[in-house]
Structure formats: C-alpha cells, structure tokens
C-alpha cells in the first residue's frame, strides 16, 4: 500500500510532512467520579435538613423509587436497541440502494435518506405515533401496534437515514482500485460489493454507528412527550407522587442524567478507542 522509502539523508533544507497539531485527549478519570459523588453527598443532607420531619430525605426518595425508575430506564434501552436494530437493517438496504446502478432507484434512495436525515427526530416521532394505526389487520390476523412499538419505528426512521449515509460514505471511501481489481477478475458487481467492498467497510462503519447508537439512546427520552412510560415520564410521575416537592426536582432529574451518562460514556470511550486503532492500521 505505501512506499517504503528511507528518508534521504541530506543537509539541505527538507520539507517535512505536515503534522496535525497535538490535541490533548480528554477523558474522565476515577477521581472525577469521587468529586461528583462528594458534591451530591454534600448537597443532599443540606437539602434534606430543610424538609419537614415526616418527609423522606432526598436519598431516601431516590432509593425508594429506584426500582421503578430503573425499569423505565430499561424501557429506554429496549426502545433504543430495537430502533437501532430495525434502523440498521433498513438503513443498510437504503445505503446500498443509493449505490445501485439503476439511476432512478439510487435517486429515490438518496431522496428518502436526505428527507429523514434532515427532519427533527421529535417530528418523526410524532409522525410515527399519529400516522401508524394502533393495529394492522391482515385477513383474520390482527397485529396490535402498541405505542412503544410505534415509538421504536419513530426512532428507527432517523437511524435508518443515518445508517444509510454511513454505509454510502464507507463504500465510497474504499479506493477505486479495489473495484478495478475486482472488475478485472470478472467478479460481478454484487460479488464485488459483498465479498470485497463491504467486508472492508465494517471497520470504518463501526465507530460512527456506535456514535449514532449513543445518540439514539439519549434521544429516547423524547418518547416522554408522547406518553410512553420511559424514564423521564416516570421521573415526572415520581415527583408528583412525592407531592411535587421542589427540593426533589433537581436530584430526581440528576439521577436520570446519571443513568444515561453511565451508559453512554463508556460507549463513547470505546468508539474513540476504535477510531484511533483503525486510523493507525489503515
């Protein structure tokens, strides 16, 4: 792939390769977590002291409702995983259609991708919630479409468009020499795509795909707007159940924030690590 030529030894001025400026890599360390925990602990008793005697402390409230809140969080994760799976499968097809030799097919796929990629996720969610019927009837069989399934479809739409774009970009980033070599060996276009091009794309697609997943996970709280019992909806309900105490507002939502952070941050760390590894290798 590259030329292995030794650097010429010369005392003449030489043009050195341009080196990108060194950007420090920032990441969280263990002590960051300790600082965070300390801040919460210092804040909690102070807030608790203001409350009346028969009321639970803030920590107490969170512990009491934690099973319910975590169930809600689990529901967020379920929606995100299903939306990602559905969106990836359809998006892969849409991305490949964009590369089709049939011009009208690739144009349609391109238009569809652009439409869903440039629409606000919340609008797409509303779109899915109100346009998809609550059940489908095929002959005698009735397939129910509960709200959460519609939400999955709503989130799968932007995922699909973004995956399509990731696929198209990765395929086009493979050097044309690979296509030429495959052509000259009489591979069909389909064989070339599946056996030669796509296997090389997987590595390149993985980091942006994981990035997209973490975005989807964080976006699932939008489902609270349409009344799905996910974490944010439940947090609001817990707050109501505790009498709408104002001192509970910040800690309850901070707990939701923390859950998402603990889940998404490692994904992002891993993504960055993969990106760095693939950059070095190829």
């Amino acid at each position: 792939m590259r030329k292995e030529r030794a650097a010429p030894v010369t005392d003449l001025p030489v043009l050195l390769p341009v080196r990108s400026p060194c950007v420090p890599v920032l990441s969280l360390r263990a002590w960051h977590g300790l600082v965070l925990a300390a801040a919460v602990l210092m804040f909690a008793p102070a807030a608790g002291a203001q409350a009346g005697s028969e009321e639970l402390s803030i920590i107490g409230v969170i512990i009491k409702w934690m099973p319910l809140l975590l169930t809600g969080f689990g529901f967020n994760l379920l929606i995100s995983v299903l939306a990602m799976a559905l969106g990836t499968i359809v998006g892969l097809g849409l991305g490949l259609l964009q590369l089709s030799e049939f011009r009208w097919l690739s144009r349609c796929a391109w238009a569809l991708t652009q439409f869903f990629r440039n629409a606000p996720w919340l609008v797409l969610l509303f779109f899915a919630m109100y346009l998809i019927p609550y059940e489908f009837r095929i002959g005698e069989v009735t397939i129910p479409f509960p709200d959460w399934v519609k939400a999955v479809i709503g989130f799968a739409l932007p995922v699909m468009a973004n995956v399509a774009e990731i696929v198209r970009g990765a395929v086009q980033s493979i050097s044309s020499g690979q296509w030429e070599a495959a052509d000259s060996l009489a591979f069909t276009r389909r064989q070339t795509l599946w056996m030669i091009i796509l296997p090389q794309c997987v590595k390149r697609m993985l980091p942006p795909w994981m990035n997209l997943y973490s975005l989807v996970t964080m976006a699932t709280v939008l489902a609270s707007v349409v009344g799905i019992n996910e974490m944010l909806t439940l947090t609001a309900q817990v707050h109501n159940a505790e009498g709408g105490r104002t001192d509970l507002l910040a800690p309850l939502y901070a707990f939701a924030l923390l859950c998402f952070f603990i889940y998404c941050y490692p994904i992002n760390l891993w993504t960055v690590r993969l990106e760095r590894r693939f950059n070095v290798k190829s």
């Binding site: 792939m1 292995e4 030529r5 030429e180 060996l185 009489a186 290798k281």
Partner: protein, 249 residues
C-alpha cells in the same frame, strides 16, 4: 463472425478514440498483438498509456473505434464483459490486493467464486502459483504485512490463477522500491518466456529491450512510432521519441 484462430491477431485495436470530458486522451490508436507476443508501450506521463491498456479489458469504455480480443468485440455493449475478463488478466501499479484476505485467499477468490471451480483443486493451484512467484511461507500473510514487491507478485499470481490467455501490466513496477523492482521483473520475464501473451506499459527501458517483441512509443494520444526494441531504443526516427529517450535513458 468467424471463430478466432491462433493465427489471427489475439488483440486488435482499430482507430481507438477516447475522451474524458473535453480532453481527448486517445486519438486513433491501432495495433495488433499475436498470440505469444510481448508488447511494451512506452511514453511520457499523460500520453494515454494507462487508458489504452485499461480499454482492452473494458475497464475504460472507448468512444469510437474497435478493440477485439480473440475475435470478440470489446466495445460492443452486448458483449459479455465477464467472459472477456476471464480471458484477460490485469496487474496494476498499486497492486490492489484485497487487504482483508490473506495472500493465498487473494489468489483463490476469483477461481472459486467467478469460475466456480473446485476449492481443493484451486488451492493446489494457488499454492503452486505462490511457489512460482517465490513467496513460499507467505500464504497466510495479509497484504498489509508484505513489501510492495511481494504484494505485486501476489497480484500477478492472483491474475494467473484465472488462467488468462492475455496479461496486461500497467506500470507494475512504478510504485516499487528500486531493490524490489527486480524480483517483479524476474516473474514477468518467466511468464513471457513461457509464451504468455503480454502487453506492458512500462518505464523500465532495459527490461522492455530485453523481453519485448515490439515497442510502441505513444505521446499525446497517438502512437508516434513502433518497431523492434533496437529500432525504437537505438535508432528512433521521430524527434519526439528521441527527446523522450534522452530524458529517461
């Protein structure tokens, strides 16, 4: 059309024209190659050599003229390009090995999936080809871990695995270190000696002199002159050929 017989030219170009947008790269190229001949195409960069050689296996469609390989018209839209390419092997300047497959797998892929040949038979042939290009022990190595010269020899073996009638070499040593050029040339020389029909685009004048039956000098999309290596390299008639040779020799 009458079936092709080996006493007719294996490759025949007639007045081939090709433009990319406004710029015309091939302005009426004609030549013939008989079975077993080795033809070298030389000329300055940008003279259309790569386009010319790519047009022979239909990697580059031409605008007008005719190219036949074993009597089959390449430029005919109805032609079975895959059938054509099974007969014509091609080796590139940038090797273009498949980086996700080992050397052996690179060689085996096309015979198995394109020619649908038996895997064990293909594997035996691939291992023999690895030995032929002197890369024993590198069967399970990925292209990224091979030197340029080694990659290029795998690329030659990959083409040969299809058992082509004709081999096209597009500046195959241009990206190599001087010390690995030789090992690739040795491989090509062996092929030529075995009677493989070869068309080479090359900058290696010494090599062209040694193996070519005929040399074509191209400049600005036309063949300026052609003849035996002695005629072209030692006694060029055209001023453009003389000027070019003075620069490279």
């Amino acid at each position: 059309m009458a079936a092709w017989t080996p006493d007719q030219p294996m490759v025949r170009l007639r007045d081939v024209h090709k433009s990319f947008g406004q710029s015309e790269v091939l302005k009426g190229i004609s030549f013939e190659v008989m079975k077993g001949e080795v033809i070298c195409i030389i000329g300055p960069s940008g003279s259309g050599k790569s386009t010319l050689i790519r047009s022979i296996n239909a990697l580059v469609p031409i605008n007008s003229g005719s190219i036949t390989v074993e009597g089959q018209e390449v430029n005919d839209p109805a032609v079975d390009k895959l059938a054509l390419r099974r007969k014509v092997g091609m080796v590139f300047q940038q090797y273009n090995l498949f980086p996700h497959r080992t050397a052996l797998q690179n060689i085996m892929m096309a015979p198995i999936h394109v020619l649908k040949q038996d895997r064990s038979e293909v594997e035996a042939r691939a291992r023999a080809l690895i030995r032929k290009v002197r890369l024993e022990g590198k069967e399970d190595t990925y292209p990224g871990e091979l030197s340029g010269g080694q990659q290029q020899r795998v690329a030659i073996a990959r083409s040969l695995a299809m058992r082509p009638d004709l081999m096209l070499f597009d500046e195959v040593t241009a990206a190599l270190d001087p010390e690995t050029v030789k090992e690739v040339l040795v491989t090509i020389r062996e092929l030529a000696r075995e009677g493989m029909t070869c068309i080479l685009v090359t900058h290696e004048m010494g090599f062209a002199r040694e193996i070519a039956n005929r040399i074509y000098f191209t400049d600005q999309g036309v063949i300026v002159e052609h003849g035996s290596p002695q005629e072209i390299l030692d006694h060029p008639r055209e001023a453009r050929t003389k000027a070019f040779l003075e620069q490279v020799l």
